[in-house]
């Protein structure tokens, strides 16, 4: 039941994250995979630069997963891996994987974890364009 949480500067091994949540007590494994897309608000994006405050990011991620276990007591295993550093188009930025006995809770828990991660986990994203860069969501 100990969640597998990591911030890494290496390419994310999706299969390893899925394997980490595999358990005989779960009939459903649900995952979210966030990837780098080629535009943002219509503006072409060349690549992304992620920065993390690792110790706090892992602390907050632990809180997010603990909340998920409270909301869905049947939740079995959880893995969250977030990449940092420079990512090219198509690269995997984040993987969330959860295992539950049945599928409905697996969708809900997976969505809760990625949605809440985006609100509280201390990771920042700088988009690189043809003509400069910008920190995402920094300004109103």
């Amino acid at each position: 039941m100990t969640p597998h949480l990591a911030i890494t500067d290496q390419p994310i091994d999706i299969a390893a994250a899925l394997a980490a949540v595999q358990t005989d007590t779960a009939g459903a494994v649900n995952s979210f995979i966030g990837t780098v897309r080629n535009q943002s608000g219509g503006r072409p994006v060349r690549r992304l630069h992620y920065e993390s405050y690792d110790s706090m990011a892992l602390t907050q991620l632990g809180h997010v997963v603990a909340q998920a276990y409270e909301k869905w007591p049947m939740l079995q295993e959880v893995a969250v891996v977030h990449r940092k550093g420079t990512l090219e188009l198509g690269d995997v930025a984040v993987v969330v994987a959860v295992a539950t006995p049945h599928r409905a809770e697996s969708f809900a828990a997976c969505q809760f974890i990625i949605d809440t991660l985006k609100q509280v986990v201390t990771i920042w994203k700088r988009e690189e364009y043809e003509d400069g860069t910008e920190w995402v969501a920094a300004h109103p």
């Binding site: 110790s55 706090m56 990011a57 985006k118 201390t122 994203k125 920094a138 300004h139």
Partner: protein
């Protein structure tokens, strides 16, 4: 009492360093720290939000600060 404040993302760009040391007498609370940082770096006030973390947890404005605390400014996060 002096304080060290870690800076990430756009706050590091605004301040121009990844750690800033505030000499004594340093702000005594989170709210005072934010006010002092905004006074020295007005561009921090243009951000959508700027939280303060103490020892890896989000802190409230009335929380007292200590030299031994790990303190950081937290601009709007954008993981995922």
């Amino acid at each position: 009492m002096s304080l060290k404040v870690a800076l990430f993302g756009i706050t590091r760009d605004i301040v121009g360093t990844s750690v800033i040391e505030l000499p004594a007498p340093a702000p005594a609370t989170v709210g005072e720290l934010l006010a002092e940082m905004r006074r020295q770096y007005p561009a921090l006030g243009d951000l959508r939000s700027c939280a303060v973390a103490v020892n890896n947890e989000y802190a409230t404005n009335d929380q007292p600060l200590h030299t031994v605390d790990e303190i950081a400014l937290i601009p709007p996060v954008a993981g995922g």
